[in-house]
Point group: C2
Chain length 514, copies 2
């Protein structure tokens, strides 16, 4: 099985994850995150711990994205975690967008008062823990930029940010998360818009090529823009319950921040002008996106390009006499595999030497979703073989390959797993995207049928005409549906708005979203 | 000139940095950081901005250290930024050590009150912005560890931390800084101590091999231990004003945190025991250390292994007719250099195409400390040559080499620069380490002579006998001197304490410190 589809019921396999996707998708998600050991909620309200297997995938995402950012001329910087309240107040829309979810530092020490440890040393001006850094980076740019010769400024920051979420959901919506935020300043609208679109396209390529997550690429409607932006663009992925997940955004901020902060330059003709700025970001919620795109009823399935380990070798030792020969064989295999490369990096291979029952170890790695699992015992050595399990074809079970044949084919296998995961997710997205809904009645019927969404027979994306009238958006509230984006691949044909019947030319994506 | 020594006065060169080291070391440091564009203080009190050239060096440090951590079995995790007050209270020494410098979050939103934006939504329990993560990671470990089979736990975190410094100094002591903190849990004292010492040794190797910063490696005296630690080890580097800078620390925490937090496991014999923990860290203050170790009166000198660019190619275009040929020659040179490797990584080479005066560009790169600067004009192309400036031999001026000869020698040149910088810094450290002071009178005379320390003729490390009597430490206060460490390479001979005359066997390093 390599498609994220429900298993045929007549097989009735015992699944490693309970509940299954069909039984309860939300609980299935929590279980996969937990049993894959990717992350867990901490004892600190709303904050998570990203564990080794999840952080390892994040590091590989970072490495790939970072190379794409550097190849397009961006340097990494680091700006303060704390933002004075006064910085936020300069851009009205921006502060309004974030005020409800800001962690605020008010004191700078602890002291014992009445026998109790209490905050002390009140700050003159409260400091906000950054929810995003447009303001603090804008302040710096306003000092650095004097002339058109100083432009463009192209920078990126890898950082933690805090948004106080009232209903946290692990990896998707937590009080603190990790991300990168790119911030650039340009001389002209055209340059800034080209940058905005370039970075948006980088996210699309990254998502599809590296995460094996297909996306719809488009512009956000006005009501879904980033607070303070002129245009916002996003990539929207479809989870296996049909909901959308925004997987990366890129914003053209116009001269809004430049004017409120005062980021000016002397132009080529001598006049003082305001820069045009952009910002763009992707976060650790991508870890949630890969779980909900690729996981199945046996747990996580890691796309090979971001799998912290691509091959796990589990030695099966049945007696002390076997021990050394098995371990030596496994280590030699690991060294030989580690000398190979896939997608420009050496293969990531680990020998799992832990002393535990073989079947427990096997299921642990299946739940973590390692692409290839090798189990090696004395008999395999005698026969010159390796026992291989392909995580994306678990139903096919173990295969016994000649060692040399395995080595010769392993890179191709990883590529086949990566490509297969993308193709399966794309097929799912296409199957759950409805394009023949043209009336409000059909629209209501579609989204009423399955208000919670579900894995089997649940709803997905409705691609339909919309007039662009903001007033029509209130018709979506009963379904908790939003317009995810206006996809770039418009057909341009005239039609009627699916919500109001008014004349409409643009196609949009309607969906429930994470 | 490749030693960090004052220039011969009779040459009277015009220096790029004013004041020079000899004129005012503290101000020279600020100027080098600023003019190298490595970092600057932000508008947020005590917080800095690490700019592209500084952050690029930090990324290379991270990459190298991270590989060493992974090679010794550590995985990266990420833990919450916020730590509930109650976590800190469990370990008395620990909270006492950090209470005076903690940023405290007390509210989770902003609201308009009386027309003014104010903190709102007071938290039930204040959250401390992590100054270090022993407590929050210990809480997690207490849930993860059940049996000796779960041990060791070997993890590391790359993160920002906050310590509210009253007298910030850029890169060295700021309210927020970046670091890595390793945290491990072990079954036995022996294993935990072996880990502590292993990581300490990794820092030493990294500092000397990669940063070209020689260090004294040893154990901290009791009064200088990390709050809550049983043993603390550090590497101590000597800056060019003779002061010590602690460049990495590794702590054996005993069972202190395990007992206060409750990190227990079922041992091999069935009894419930407390784990032994360690922690170890290095931070962005290493960027300050390389400035003060390698900088000279013309600015920064980047050790090649952490130089964000190892070779800068500056095209010298004197006419529009030259333009294309010069740029093509430079790009081709860049590609050819980029195909070479040094220290396991492709050469980092950039063509600086900015439209600015050649001499301004030249001095900008000298102040940034790029190891090799190439200036290429039409005449060089005609002659098949490159014009090379070696930053560590600036006094030798430009050299004109045949292009092929330069390509053939460039990796060797980088190695020679790296090695030369280390050798020069080691010679400086040795020259400024005094080993013949045996009495309090001599000691007082030595540290009284130059209470502020200085570059020329300033003081440095005094290596002398110390009794170990804590009461004797107060004798150091008048000089603002501390015991930096008890070096590992003890002679073991009996002698008299330099402070009190009491019998003493151990050699220690006395110095002023950053």
């Amino acid at each position: 099985m390599n498609a994220p589809q429900p298993k045929a019921q007549n097989k009735a396999p015992k699944n490693a994850i309970s509940p299954t996707r069909a039984e309860n998708y939300a609980q299935w998600y929590q279980q996969v995150v937990k049993s894959s050991d990717m992350a867990e909620m901490s004892g600190v309200r709303g904050c998570m711990i990203i564990k080794g297997w999840g952080y390892g995938a994040w590091e590989l995402m970072q490495r790939d994205l970072d190379a794409r950012f550097k190849a397009t001329g961006h340097d990494n910087y680091y700006f303060p975690l704390f933002i004075p309240l006064s910085y936020f107040q300069k851009e009205a829309d921006h502060v309004e967008g974030f005020a409800k979810e800001m962690a605020v530092v008010t004191h700078h020490r602890l002291s014992v008062k009445d026998g109790k440890l209490m905050p002390d040393g009140e700050l003159e001006e409260p400091l906000v823990v950054r929810p995003t850094s447009e303001t603090v980076i804008g302040e710096a740019m306003s000092k650095w930029i004097k002339s058109y010769r100083d432009l463009p400024v192209l920078l990126n920051q890898w950082a933690n940010v805090v948004r106080w979420e009232m209903r946290p959901r692990i990896l998707l919506r937590t009080a603190e998360f990790l991300w990168q935020e790119g911030h650039t300043a340009h001389e002209t609208f055209e340059e800034a818009m080209a940058e905005t679109r370039q970075m948006h396209e980088i996210y699309r390529q990254f998502s599809e090529e590296v995460l094996a997550v297909p996306v719809v690429s488009g512009e956000k409607p006005a009501n879904e823009r980033f607070p303070g932006a002129v245009n916002s663009y996003s990539i929207e992925a479809m989870m296996q319950d049909g909901r959308a997940l925004q997987a990366g955004t890129s914003h053209y901020l116009g001269q809004n921040f430049a004017k409120s902060i005062g980021i000016q330059f002397q132009g080529r003709e001598g006049a003082v002008e305001h820069v045009h700025t952009t910002s763009w970001g992707a976060s650790t919620r991508l870890l949630g996106a890969i779980v909900m795109t690729h996981g199945d009823d046996d747990g996580m399935r890691m796309p090979p390009r971001i799998a912290p380990q691509q091959v796990i070798i589990a030695p099966i030792v049945r007696s002390d006499a076997d021990q050394k020969a098995v371990m030596d064989y496994c280590e030699a295999l690991k060294d030989e595999l580690g000398a190979l490369s896939y997608a420009g990096l050496p293969l990531r291979v680990r020998v799992d030497k832990r002393d535990m029952a073989g079947s427990d170890k096997r299921w642990e790695w299946i739940k973590k979703g390692v692409p290839l699992l090798l189990e090696i015992g004395q008999r395999d050595i005698t026969e010159g073989k390796v026992c291989v399990t392909r995580r994306d074809k678990l139903a096919e079970g173990k295969k016994f390959l000649l060692r040399a044949d395995f080595i010769a084919s392993v890179v191709g296998e990883l590529k086949s797993i990566q490509d297969g995961m993308f193709e399966a997710a794309l097929a799912f997205q296409k199957a759950r995207t409805v394009t023949n809904i043209t009336t409000k009645a059909e629209f209501d019927a579609y989204f009423s049928k399955d208000a919670d969404n579900s894995f089997v027979g649940g709803q997905g994306f409705v691609r339909a005409k919309w007039s662009g009238d903001p007033a029509s958006l209130k018709l979506l509230d009963t379904h908790a549906v939003t317009i995810r984006c206006v996809p770039f691949d418009q057909d341009g044909k005239e039609g009627k708005c699916v919500l109001t019947g008014a004349p409409a030319t643009q196609d949009v994506i309607f969906a429930r979203a994470y």
